[in-house]
Symmetry: C2
Subunit: 326 residues, 2 copies
């Protein structure tokens, strides 16, 4: 067999923020989390033992974890899950729950209405698909050329403290629209006034599946580009950012590859550099694979095994059988 | 189980140009095409009976089709395959070969050097990954706003005759670079002069997996955006185009959904409308799924089952076993 070719730095980074998509997923060590016949997540074995203690809410079998199908609606499912999570939080044995946010994310199967909502800090324990917005604030600088604003996260943040990050970003909470979240976060994190925020443009989204010691992160980020005047200086107003810096493209690349950059914010930077013609098929040997790893099929990873039962209620057993063979 | 939500027109179109990715692939009716231990394609049963007649070149088993592993190098593999294809062409029993081009596409496994080259018109019979370039020619019109140039393909073209298409497009043949192909096609198809062509910007790529009666099309298109002055009128010089038309965004959408538009050119148009902020997360309910279907994981579809044998030569038998279970 021929020798494999060298892997570029960018592709190595893309594999890093997709470590679960490329490796963990195929090891089959996680159990599908089933709600109303839909797989909406994955649960690692370290968290499973905690769920087993609440059999009236979570049915843990050899094959999967199922939310009690007797729960009638969105409200009941939300309350029953919240109740267990509150108990686990009080026991103080799960580190993600120490970052409790009192903010809920919607849980749904792609193409279906939301099934219930879950405390944000717990979603990584269940491998729930998370949606967020990110804003690329850029400046067309008269002497330095295209420049990008980055933020350094506060040292007191629960996740990725002190790391460098995109200029503005935030998770999509229940009750907030996508553009609405972007405008709100721009004001809170960087004091972007409404007249400037109204100029930002949606330009796509990235999807990737990361894993850390904290849990599983199947993330989709809706991306906005916003041109800023050279005299605009972002100013944080919610205490979540310690500083902002405007970098040239070459400095941005150094930042992207530095260990002080938040791994899960890299996809948006790479997507920006591709759309702006700075990473090209001629300077990046792994261009097509790189673009694929900015858009992994999160909406079919959980749905795929259901294909054959499309017209009826999929049953968790046959589902899991297919899943492990994947 | 909850009622599924409505599917948008754009998502229906994205499912159409991914009909093989979403359906055919999982039916498991095609046999993997193996070269030097790598899966580089898929063969449908209607074509298999023809290959079986050349056992000295193609080893057809119950599990897969393998190119004779005794062939020593790129050159020998190229010659042996070309020889069979010439014979099949003379028999005149396979419609794709009636569009013989005397132009070769490289055949490779992602991340490895090219294994051999194959006549372009035959690649859809083997499900070989095809690469091309597409140029979006656009105008910032003083009264009509953003407008896009489209071409109507010549009625004498072998594939998609008379259909409407992106302004400029072409396949990546052996021996030509990506930007080089874009500049060459811009000149041949639309008489774009070199000074204008030098302004085009690479902005990403789309990947999709289409199937028609002719064969299988796992395609990746490298995309370039090129702003054109309002007084530039494209003019065909190679006889492959019958006319060009400049359309507003609203007219472009009508064109995109019309049956006279080439299905496999739709991904580039949708990607353009997303990057330019015209299709948004707020006006397209299936935005995230749509973006995923513009970037399906072609580089891992064929590679996936090899994961466990990464350090050794994968064997076709265990490979196919995994594949059909997918």
């Amino acid at each position: 067999m021929a020798e494999a070719m060298d892997v570029s730095r960018l592709l190595r980074l893309a594999r890093q923020f997709n470590c679960f998509y490329l490796h963990g997923l195929h090891r089959g060590e996680c159990k599908p989390f089933i709600v109303e016949g839909h797989q909406v997540g994955l649960v690692r074995s370290d968290f499973l033992k905690h769920l087993s203690r609440y059999p009236e809410v979570f049915h843990v079998s050899g094959k999967c974890v199922e939310l009690n199908p007797a729960f009638r609606d969105y409200r009941e499912r939300t309350i029953k899950v919240a109740d267990v999570l509150q108990k686990l939080k009080l026991e103080d044995c799960l580190s993600p729950l120490r970052g409790w946010r009192d903010e809920c994310y919607a849980v749904s199967a792609p193409g279906y209405p939301d099934l219930f909502e879950m405390e944000r800090s717990a979603t990584c324990l269940f491998g729930i698909q998370k949606y967020g917005v990110t804003i690329n604030g850029y400046v067309k600088h008269p002497t330095k050329g295209l420049c990008i604003w980055f933020q350094q996260r506060s040292n007191t943040k629960q996740t990725w403290p002190g790391k460098w990050d995109n200029m503005v970003g935030g998770g999509l909470s229940v009750g907030f629209g996508i553009l609405e979240t972007a405008v709100k976060e721009a004001a809170e994190e960087a004091s972007v006034p409404p007249n400037l925020a109204s100029t930002m443009k949606p330009v796509g989204c990235v999807s990737f599946y990361f894993e850390s010691e904290r849990g599983l992160f199947p993330n989709t980020e809706f991306i906005y580009d916003m041109e800023l005047p050279i005299d605009f200086i972002p100013d944080n107003s919610d205490g979540e950012v310690q500083s902002f810096e405007l970098l040239t493209i070459s400095e941005s690349l150094d930042m992207l590859f530095s260990p002080s950059f938040k791994t899960t914010s890299a996809p948006v930077v790479i997507d920006f550099l591709i759309r702006w013609g700075l990473i090209t098929p001629d300077n990046e040997p792994n261009y097509a694979e790189l673009v694929e790893l900015l858009h992994v099929p999160l909406r079919s990873i959980y749905k795929l095994p259901f294909h054959k039962q499309e017209n009826g209620r999929p049953d968790a057993e046959s589902h899991y059988t297919n899943f492990t063979k994947l």
